[in-house]
Symmetry: C2
Subunit: 144 residues, 2 copies
DNA sequence: GTACAACTTAAAGTGGACTTTAAGTCAACA
DNA sequence: TGTTGACTTAAAGTCCACTTTAAGTTGTAC
């Protein structure tokens, strides 16, 4: 247990554990998204809580936050609890943007699904499938 | 009715109608995603069915297809019904990729939501909120 | 007839997120 | 002791999807 907590990893191992390249880790560090520890020879090493931290960053990144926004978030975090409202505002904005894009891509997917269904009908040689895709969409109420 | 069908638009008007810039339209044309008609002076003009076409392309693009894939799709389309299986395969691959990423971003969102809730609890000054975020996630069963 | 806006082209530039390169350091192993 | 292999740095390069620039043409409005 103690051992697990205190385990450390060189950059290559760390990178593999989180599914990024060592170069990307260095890039993230340059951008201020994370900090590394250094051994006596100047080589980076990382801990299990660094893994948690990067995974969390990747979740935020996955909801659409850009590197600069993550950087801002990290800076606020370093400034202590006084910046919690700022951080919260940033995360909520991200959440809103995400929900907006979510609705949009759902509609894109609907059209993609419809097109696939339309092709499949056409491929099965449905005699009446001379119907143009736009008409088909209209019929489904999926146009626009 | 006849009028609506035969209405044409210069590139600026067309661009506005579909929410792209005129430059982007020209870029898409260069990339082979669409064709324009030309007037006697060599200027592009577009029809209502061009609008439908670009909107459809944007739906595909919105599900994650890249310009080169859209180009491939357009080329197959120009080759006639013999390429329907190819087109269908491309669209289904897009659909699969989309579903995969969809699941991923849903998880990213879940973590974002949890983090927001955690900050809100902290902000409300919940006395017991010295709980680290990781522990909070574990408690919710949302870790990883 | 001249000003103006909207168009035309080819080519260069941009932004974001990495990725690669070049040159070097270091520690462990045969 | 010498050769790997993993690391170090700063800087340049890449990819994608546009966007901007520069120089020129055209149709309409005054």
């Amino acid at each position: 247990m103690q051992e697990l907590q205190s385990k450390t990893y060189p950059i290559g191992t760390f990178a593999k554990k989180i599914g990024l390249s060592a170069s990307t880790i260095r890039y993230y560090e340059r951008e201020g998204l994370l900090k590394s520890h250094r051994d006596h020879a100047g080589r980076r090493y990382f801990t299990n809580s660094d893994i948690d931290w990067v995974k969390f960053l990747l979740h935020l990144k996955g909801t659409g936050m850009r590197i600069q926004e993550l950087k801002q978030y990290v800076q606020w975090r370093a400034q202590g609890d006084a910046t919690i409202p700022d951080r919260l505002a940033l995360l909520k904005e991200t959440q809103d943007n995400f929900r907006q894009r979510f609705r949009e891509v759902q509609h894109h997917l609907e059209i993609l699904n419809d097109k696939i269904a339309w092709y499949e009908a056409k491929e099965r040689g449905n005699v009446n499938n001379q119907e143009p895709f736009q008409d088909y969409l209209n019929r489904l109420g999926h146009s626009e």
